[in-house]
Amino acid sequence: MKRYFRELSVLFAFLAILLLLAFRAPEFFQPSQLLSMLCDAVPVLIAACGMTLVIVCRQIDISIGSQFALCSVFAGLTASSGLPMPVVAFVAILCGAAMGAFNGVLVAGLGIPSIVVTLATMVTWREALRWWREGEFVSNLPENFQWFGLSQQVGQITIIGIAILLFLFLAFALKHLSAGRFVYAVGSDKEAARLAGIHPQKVTFAVFVLMGALTGLAALLTAVRFPDVDPKAGQGLELKAIAAAVVGGVAISGGRGYLWGVAAGVLLLSSIAPALVFLHLQPQWEKALQGLIILLAVAADGWRAVRKKD
């Protein structure tokens, strides 16, 4: 219990918001409202899972927002050229994985700090996309693209279902598969991991590729919700994902973090905007509150660590 104090407190904060809403604005708890809130949280959850792996590995990736936009546009173009849905999904994920691999080569292969590499790729991909598409939306999407050709409600449930299955698999893999433990090992102590027979470079590379692939999937699951694809999508996704991971108890210095804590972080952060609307407060406070939650979460971490030392 004490071990999970950090994660549980985030979960309780989320439950507190739900409780407040239950008393003050019970109309929040309509199925359609909840489904749309969860659907909004899906891309952040998927990206935050990838980001957790990256941060646990003691790296960071701030290029995923731009990757997200490129993947959505590629998915949209593939779909509008008439190719079947599985091919569209494959293209989106492959496109993300390729951009992740590019980051991975530079970080793991050449040893350039990940924050600089992904800063550069963030700018490059975003501006390349703007140059190429000139802000044009991808329209003329086939019937079977939006909501996978299902009704809206079934489509929403499908999207949330995919995200939950993926989350459960990743949480299991990170805890019980050797590949998952390698990530913790490399993030805790690279040299010790190397002496234990792990290839830190390969693990780091793989983590970036996975981050890209997950971003591609997140882009696909967002693109199918709308009648056309926005080339400006995904702006600020990297910060939302990092914020969710950090609020969820992932240590930025690597080696520590649980995915279910991150899920609680995602739920907490994505419940702020609807909560402000339903409590009839100014929605413009969302960003300030998000920042405040991040600072409070890390300040609590720091406070506990400093007190323990004394």
Binding site: E127, A288, G291
Partner: protein
């Protein structure tokens, strides 16, 4: 991590700065052919005029990164300070001078918040300033409710951003020159500034050497807040209005200029003149592309490519020189660099 002797680094930096100057010259030669009005005194001063705000942020980002830290909140703080200035002047009815002084104090207080969290609670600067990045921009949006903006400032204030001395020298140019000289002297010619690098190499070692590490680190973040506020004042005066989205993305541009200028993101290594060169490369690139009627997106793409190729070149050169030495791999015990932030 490999150990380089001081002379190694010196030689390396000589080469690094030569490389930057070569890039800058190449830009100037190319743009003088593609753009008609590129090589004029007026355009040269215009380039500087437009990059003063970014320059101030990049200048203060240099000592921050030297200490091994980072400040992602400067762009958001620029927005918050711009809004605060507008609010103090229009709604509180203060004279511009008093509003400007209060804005600088707000900047210092905001920087102080970062400093407090980083030094007292031992939190990684990346995460603290990521949180305040959200908080400051969010406050700016909340104060203006996302729509309000401030215009109609008195001409005496607008002179700061739009005026010219003797009809040619932009009014904000002296501020940048003074800041550049000040930061250069601080980082390179004072024991105070020299300690930033020591902290970047080893915070613990520096503390044992009797230097008040927390105090020094905290001070750079406060200074960063003040510079962001100053940049906000110049920005508002130049553009003539204050909106909540002022300075969006400036933190990344400032970091790009610093890293392009040869400062190691891990801290300990870097120079102020390198940062100024990096800034010049970025500013000339943007201006030249605009004057050559090239798409503005190209500036971003080329910046990213330039940053990556400079760093990849550096990494490759290092691994080649390491191989050439052919020293047997020595077992290293806990010499892993400090936690990456």
């Amino acid at each position: 991590m490999t150990n380089h002797s001081p002379t190694d680094w010196k030689a390396f930096f000589l080469r690094f700065e030569t490389l930057l100057i070569a890039v800058l010259l190449a830009e100037i030669i190319i743009f003088s052919r593609t753009a008609e009005n590129f090589v004029t005194t007026g355009n040269g001063l215009e380039i500087i005029r437009l990059s003063v705000e970014l320059g101030l942020l990049a200048l203060v980002m240099t000592p921050i990164i030297l200490t091994g830290g980072i400040d992602l909140s400067v762009g958001s703080l620029l927005g918050l300070c711009a809004i605060s200035f507008g609010k103090l002047w229009r709604d509180a009815g203060l004279p511009p001078v008093l509003a400007a002084i209060l804005t600088l104090l707000i900047g210092a207080a905001a920087g102080g918040l970062n400093a407090l969290l980083i030094t007292r609670l031992k939190l990684p600067p990346l995460i603290v300033t990521l949180g305040s990045f959200s908080l400051f921009r969010g406050l700016a949006e909340a104060i203006t409710r996302g729509v309000d903006n401030f215009t109609g400032f008195p001409p005496s204030f607008l002179f700061l951003g739009q005026g010219y001395f003797f009809g040619v020298i932009p009014a904000q140019l002296p501020i940048l020159v003074v800041a550049a000289i000040g930061f250069w002297l601080l980082v390179h010619r004072t024991t105070f500034g020299r300690s930033f690098r020591a902290i970047g190499f080893s915070p613990e070692g520096t503390r044992y050497a009797g230097i008040p590490v927390d105090h020094r680190v905290g001070l750079v973040y406060v200074l960063s807040g003040v510079m962001a506020a100053l940049a906000a004042l110049i920005y508002v005066a130049r553009v003539g209005q204050a909106k909540a989205d002022a300075g969006t993305g400036y933190e990344l541009l400032a970091i790009t200029a610093v890293v392009l200028g040869g400062t190691s993101i891990f801290g300990g290594i870097g120079t102020v003149h390198g940062t100024l060169l990096g800034l010049a490369v970025l500013a000339v690139l943007k201006n030249g592309l605009t004057l050559s009627d090239m798409p503005s997106e190209l500036a971003g793409i080329l910046t990213g490519v330039l940053l990556l190729s400079v760093l990849a070149g550096e990494a490759l050169a290092q691994s080649i020189s390491r191989r050439r030495k052919q020293s047997p791999p020595t077992p290293t015990i806990s010499t892993s660099p400090k936690p990456q932030t």
